[in-house]
């Protein structure tokens, strides 16, 4: 491209301004990537939820229990294929900062309802036979360097006053779904029931059921809630994705917050870059007039201005996204599982780069059109 020399020479005309403008893009794109990753992490539960699964919680709140006796009644509703139940344990491993979710699970039905969370057969058999056994998600096992056979003491915060429960790691599960949660820690519900105070026995935290067909979701959910209406433990049944979405909403309207911050950042970037390009063009209006005088067409002048703003956007965008790609894994590790897995997907990178280029085009367009339309005679008079 024979105009490359001219474009790059103009780009490097004011090096400090170039660095600062590229820096603006880099910071904005870094922030964009980070916000998109956080938004993705919060929304991933809903995205990967099974379409054929329902979650049943106590109508008052998820922290209120449901009777175990509901299980068989629910199983009899037409369209229900399998049902399992979980309890939140809420224990602390070594330090409160080492958070990861711990669930007491029903070993007989867990894998029927959640088949995408895969445990090798021999490990599962050992777990079933071992009352104190536990299964950890691959991410959590890696985080703490656990190996099969390790003894893992977890201090309870809900049951008993800070006593330590000891588990033996029998297996490690992986999620077959990309971005699936591999941070959970499972142990047998029977073990929980055994050690639980009498007043807590016979209850579960929530149910998860698998349907014969996703088409049955509305009917089955209504049937369950109607069945237990006006009882001491009324239920609230919703699809797994709706449950995940409402869980996220407890943190506030994350999506709105992120979109607002993102919009403000990009609007500011647009103004900063647009102003920079306008100044840059105004400074050399005489030179552009000379180019037009010696035969460069209007569209060539527009092309030069747009090429400059696009190059700045491209380099700034790549720099910001590159920094995000380096920083986000470090940040994810530093958050110690407080947030779901932070994944900088190709879709986020592509969207970020496309947005940067769009800002580049828009910011170069107005000064470019101005330069394109200027009258050579007027511009030369100002030189």
């Amino acid at each position: 491209m024979k105009f490359r020399g001219l474009i790059f020479a103009n780009l490097f005309r004011k090096k400090l301004r170039l660095i600062l403008t590229i820096g603006s893009f880099a910071v904005a794109l870094f922030l964009f990537a980070f916000l998109a990753v956080v938004k993705g992490a919060f929304g991933r539960g809903a995205d990967i939820a099974g379409a054929d699964r329902l979650v049943i919680i106590n109508r008052i709140s998820i922290i209120q229990p449901l009777p175990l006796s509901y299980r068989d009644k629910i199983l009899r509703i037409p369209g229900v294929k399998a049902i399992t139940h979980n309890n939140w344990f809420g224990g602390v491993y070594q330090d409160e900062r080492n958070f990861f979710p711990q669930f007491a699970i029903d070993v007989e039905s867990q894998r029927q309802v959640l088949p995408e969370l895969v445990v090798p057969g021999d490990q599962w058999q050992n777990f079933v036979k071992d009352r104190q056994g536990a299964i950890a998600g691959a991410k959590t096992a890696k985080r703490f360097g656990w190996k099969i056979g390790d003894r893992i003491p977890i201090k309870t915060t809900l049951y008993g006053s800070g006593s330590s429960w000891e588990f033996i790691l029998d297996g490690i599960y992986h999620s077959e779904r990309a971005g699936g949660d591999e941070s959970q820690f499972w142990f047998q519900w029977d073990y929980l029931e055994e050690k639980m105070p009498q007043s807590f026995k016979g209850n579960v935290g929530w149910y998860v059921l698998k349907l014969d067909s996703p088409d049955d979701a509305v009917r089955v959910a209504k049937a369950i809630d109607d069945m237990f209406a006006n009882s001491s433990f009324e239920t609230k049944t919703e699809t797994e994705s709706a449950f995940a979405a409402s869980w996220v909403k407890q943190f506030g309207n994350i999506e709105f917050l992120i979109l607002t911050i993102g919009t403000v950042v990009f609007f500011t970037l647009l103004l900063v870059t647009g102003n920079t390009m306008a100044i840059s063009v105004r400074e050399r209006i005489g030179e552009l007039a000379v180019l037009k005088a010696i035969g460069f067409k209007d569209r060539s002048i527009l092309f030069f201005v747009l090429a400059e703003s696009l190059t700045i956007a491209l380099f700034g965008g790549l720099l910001g996204l590159g920094l995000a790609a380096l920083a986000i894994p470090v940040l994810g590790a530093a958050l110690n599982g407080l947030l779901p897995t932070l994944i900088l997907s190709p879709a986020i990178l592509s969207l970020g780069l496309a947005t940067a280029l769009l800002v580049g085009i828009v910011s170069g367009l107005l000064p470019g059109i101005g330069a394109m339309r200027m009258r050579v005679v007027n511009a030369l008079r100002r030189v």
Binding site: E287, I294, G295, F296, V383
Partner: protein
């Protein structure tokens, strides 16, 4: 042969007929040029003089296709440029006109070589051919050794020589010089005028030049004065008699 009475031969290189240029400023019409005629042949060197605001630069802009007249016609090498569209006029300028400005108007971030190469970027010449042309042009102006210098590393006279190289590199039909020595000291001005004179005499270039400096104007074949929007022959023509043969 240079004529201003509108009786030049039909195959003059530049033929201007009944040229009017009126500006509107704050509701008031200012007539800068009125019914101006001019004939310039290939190889002629004409200087335009006149007081500030007399329309010298306006005339040069019209001849270079940078501005459009209110009335009248300009024909260059058979092309009537007054009715050309903006895009066509731009193409025409690239082929036919070499501009030399008072302030040189070089691109400061490009080397002398790159500045001179600019008009050639609009042609289909290969990179090596462009290089040959640029080296030749810089050789003509005596700056072959300084082709990699930036304008800030050159003196005013040298910058103007680079600008002249840029003006001639694409071998245009004629050169338009707007106060080419206006920003130079006498010595540098003489060198630039020697160079322009050489372009006319050795290379057969046609040059139309605006100047305030009578010493510079005397280097032209003929000096024309612009007074009240009209061109008037005056002074002692050198080399070419007004309306006569060289």
């Amino acid at each position: 042969m240079i004529r201003v009475d509108g009786t030049g031969k039909t195959n003059s290189l530049i033929q201007v007929r009944g040229l009017d240029k009126t500006y509107r400023r704050g509701g008031e019409e200012i007539q800068v040029l009125q019914r101006l005629n001019l004939d310039v042949d290939k190889g002629d060197f004409v200087a335009f003089m006149g007081p500030s605001g007399s329309g010298k630069t306006t005339l040069l802009n019209l001849l270079g296709g940078l501005d459009v007249p209110t009335h009248g016609s300009i024909t260059v090498a058979g092309d009537e440029i007054t009715h050309m569209s903006g895009s066509k006029l731009t193409d025409w300028r690239a082929r036919h006109v070499g501009f030399i400005f008072q302030m040189y108007n070089l691109i400061p971030v490009l080397t002398a070589f790159q500045n001179v190469e600019l008009p050639l970027l609009l042609t289909k010449l290969s990179k090596s051919d462009r290089r040959k042309h640029v080296e030749t042009a810089l050789g003509v102006v005596g700056l072959a050794e300084r082709m990699n210098h930036y304008p800030r590393q050159l003196s005013g006279g040298q910058e103007q020589r680079v600008a002249i190289a840029r003006a001639i590199v694409a071998d245009p039909t004629f050169l338009l010089c707007d106060e080419p020595t206006g920003d130079l000291d006498r010595k540098s001005a003489d060198e630039i005028m020697d160079l322009i004179h050489r372009l006319v005499k050795e290379f057969g270039k046609t040059v139309l030049m605006v100047t305030h400096d009578p010493v510079v104007a005397r280097r032209a074949d003929l000096t024309l004065h612009l007074e009240k929007g009209l061109l008037v022959e005056s002074g002692e023509p050198q080399g070419v008699a007004a309306g006569g043969a060289a």
